[in-house]
Symmetry: C2
Subunit: 356 residues, 2 copies
DNA sequence: ATTAGCACTCGGTCGTTGAGAGTGCTAATA
DNA sequence: TATTAGCACTCTCAACGACCGAGTGCTAAT
C-alpha cells in the first residue's frame, strides 16, 4: 500500500524525524479518528485498511509516534488519539486539499449570483454556506479598510427637530444615526446643508475632519460632530461585529464540553473573538490553520480554527473561516474555506476595482 | 400561613374547581420546583415552608391536584412536578408580577440613555439586557408598520456604472442596495434624478408606486424598479429578522435536550420563529405567556415563551420576549418583559410622535 | 526487521444491592 | 368529618463488583 498511495509520493518533503511508514500510520490514525471519533488501535487499523503489515508492526510504529508526541494514549488500553501536535503535523505535511467538487462550486456561485449585490447579503450567505458545507461554526468579518474615509452623507428630516444622518464611506459601508436638532429645520435646509458640507469633507478620515474648521454655524458644527463620531465608531467597530453561523452543528459534539460552547458563545457575542484571534493571524492571504491553544487563548483549547483573509489587498480585507472541534476534517474544511475566500475576493474585486 | 399570604387574599378570583389550599399547594410546588429543579414531595414541602398542616394532608391535596391534571407523578415514588396545565394555572391565577426593583429600572434606563439614538442599537440593547436579566434567551423583532411607505431615497455614485441606492421609509427604516447602471452616470446626475423623482413617490407603498407611470427615462425606471423591489422586500422581511441573545443561558439546562436546542436554533436562524409564534400572538399589548405546546408548534414543546408587543399602536409595533425552559421563573420573566416593552414603547413614542 | 503469541490492563456494560425519598392506605384522633 | 400518624410498598440513584473486549508491551520465533 505504501508504495502506491499519495502518502508515499511525498517522502522527500523534508522531514527529519518521521519515517515514511510512521507518517502513513499517523495519517491513517487521523483519518480514522476524525471519522469515527473512537480512539484507534493497531488491530482496527490493520483490519480496516489494506496495510501490508501486521498489527504488531503498527504497534511498534505507534509507540514511536507516541514517544515523539504525535499521538497519545488516553488509557493504558484503549487506542491512540492524535495530539494537537499530531494534527498540526498532519495539516502541515500530510494533508491534501483538493479543489471543492465542481458541482458544489457551481451551486455556491449560483447562490451568490442569485443574491442581491450587497456586501451584507454576501457576508450572510458566506456564513451560512460555509457553516453548512464545513459542518461546523463559520465566522465572517466585514471587509474593512484601515481607517474609514467619508464618501458622502445625507440628512433626512424625520420630525421637525429630528433628522437622520446617513453616511457612506469610500468602501461603501453605510451607517445611519439620528440627530436631535436644536431648532426646527426642514428637509430643504437639510439638503442644502449637506450639499454645502459634503464637498469639503469628502475622502477624509475622522482625524482629518477634526483638524479642519467649518465656520460658526451651529447646525453645521453639530452635523460635522456626528459625522466624525460615526466615522470613529466605524474604525472602532473593526474588532466587533463578527458574523457567525452553524452553532447547531457543534452542539451535539461529544468532545466539546458545556463550558467550551459557553466560552465560544461568549467570545462571539462580546466581540472578543476577533481580538482573541487576530494577534495570531498572519497578514498573508492563504488559509491558516490553528489547532488547540496554538497562539490562541485558552478558551479555544479544544477547537481547531481554519481562517483565511479575503478581499483586495491593501484596499478591503476581511476574515472568514471555520471553527470546530479539534477533531474535524481539516482537509475538507481547508478546501471549503479556501474556495469561499477566493469567491469573496472575486466579488470584492468586482465591486472595488478602483477606489477613487 | 394560608391566611396571611397573598395567596389567601386572592380566594375570590373566580375559580371553580380548586380549593384555596390546593391553590396554595400548587403555588408552592411551582415555586419549589422552579427553584430547585427537583420533583417536590409532600415531606419536603412541610419541612421547607411553614405550612400549618402535616405532610399527609399535603399528600391528599396533591392527589387531588394530580387527578385534576395540574401536577404529575414522574415515577411512582419521586415527588410531583407541575404539568404544563399547572404552570398555566399558576401564571393565570396565582402569580404576582411586581414591578422590577427600582435599582434595576434605573440601571436599564441609564444604559439606554447612554446608547446612540438608533432603533438598531436599542434592539440590540433590549435583547442583551432582557437575556441577562431574565437569564434565558431573548427575542426581539424590529418595529414595523403594516406596509412600508417611502420617505426618501438617495443615490450615491460608487463607480461610474455602479450606484448605491439608500432608501428611508416613513418609520425610518433604512436600506441600501447596489444598483448597476447601464451607462456611466456621475454624482450630480444621480442627485438631480433623486431630487426629481423623490417628490413623486414620497409616502407611497410599493404597490402604489407600481400603479403610477414615470415617463420613459431608462435610468428613472431602473431606479423606480429598485425602490419598489426594496420596499417589497421590507414588507416580506417582516417575518424574518428576529434578534436573539442569551443562548448560552439555556445551554446547560438539564431539562432541555440536545434536540430542543437544535430546534430553537433552527427556528431562530431560518426566520421561522416569528411565523411559528405569530399565529398564537394576540394583537393586544399586555404580556402573554405560552407554555409548552399551547398554540405553539411542537418544536417548542419543552419551552415557555413570554412575549409582549411594543411600540405605538397602529403606527409601529414590534415583539419582544423571553424564551426559556418550561421550568422558569414566570413572575420574574413577566415583570422583566413587561418593563422592557414599556421602555421600548416609550422610546418609540418619543421617536415617532406623529408620522407626517 | 517482522510477526505470532501471550499475559496484562483498563474502560464500559450489566446486574445487584442498599439507602433515601415519596406515595397510598388505614386506623386513630380531634 | 377533616386531619394526622404510622406503615408497607415502590422506585430512583449511586455504589459496587464481575465480566467482556479491545488494546498494549514484551518475548521468542521466523
Amino acid at each position: 500500500m505504501f508504495e502506491h498511495q499519495p502518502i508515499g509520493e511525498r517522502v522527500g518533503t523534508e522531514n527529519p524525524e518521521l519515517t515514511t511508514r510512521q507518517r502513513a500510520v499517523l495519517e491513517l490514525i487521523v483519518h480514522e479518528y476524525v471519522q469515527t471519533g473512537r480512539a484507534v488501535g493497531s488491530k482496527t487499523l490493520t483490519e480496516r485498511y489494506p496495510v501490508g503489515v501486521s498489527s504488531a508492526t503498527i504497534r511498534n510504529e505507534m509507540a514511536e509516534l507516541e514517544s515523539a508526541g504525535y499521538i497519545s494514549h488516553l488509557h493504558t488500553s484503549g487506542g491512540r488519539v492524535p495530539t494537537d501536535q499530531g494534527y498540526r503535523y498532519y495539516v502541515r505535511h500530510l494533508m491534501r486539499t483538493p479543489e471543492l467538487p465542481a458541482g458544489e462550486q457551481i451551486m455556491i456561485r449560483h447562490q451568490f449570483r442569485q443574491a442581491e449585490v450587497q456586501v451584507e447579503g454576501w457576508m450572510e450567505l458566506a456564513a451560512t454556506t460555509l457553516a453548512e458545507i464545513a459542518g461546523n461554526v463559520s465566522v465572517v468579518t466585514a471587509p474593512r479598510t484601515a481607517t474609514a474615509r467619508l464618501r458622502h452623507f445625507e440628512l433626512i428630516s424625520l420630525q421637525s427637530r429630528l433628522a437622520l444622518l446617513i453616511l457612506v464611506t469610500l468602501e461603501s459601508t453605510v451607517r445611519q444615526v439620528m440627530v436631535h436638532l436644536p431648532e426646527s429645520v426642514d428637509q430643504d435646509q437639510l439638503s442644502r446643508l449637506a450639499d454645502t458640507v459634503v464637498p469639503s469633507v469628502r475622502g477624509l478620515t475622522a482625524a482629518e475632519i477634526a483638524g479642519r474648521t467649518f465656520g460658526n454655524d451651529e447646525l453645521v458644527l453639530l452635523v460635522i460632530d456626528h459625522v466624525q463620531a460615526t466615522l470613529r465608531s466605524l474604525d472602532a467597530a473593526e474588532q466587533t461585529a463578527v458574523r457567525h453561523s452553524g452553532l447547531e452543528n457543534i452542539l451535539g459534539t461529544p468532545d466539546l464540553g458545556e463550558g467550551d460552547l459557553h466560552h465560544v458563545l461568549g467570545l462571539l457575542r462580546g466581540g472578543g473573538f476577533l481580538s482573541a484571534v487576530l494577534p495570531a493571524l498572519a497578514p498573508r492571504s492563504d488559509v491558516q490553520v490553528f489547532i488547540g491553544d496554538e497562539n490562541l487563548p485558552g478558551e479555544l483549547r479544544r477547537f481547531g480554527l481554519v481562517l483565511s483573509t479575503y478581499g483586495v489587498e491593501d484596499v478591503v480585507t476581511g476574515i472568514l473561516g471555520v471553527l470546530g472541534p479539534t477533531r474535524m476534517s481539516y482537509w475538507r474544511t481547508v478546501s471549503t474555506v479556501r474556495y469561499m475566500a477566493r469567491l469573496m475576493s472575486d466579488l470584492m474585486a468586482e465591486l472595488y476595482p478602483t477606489v477613487d
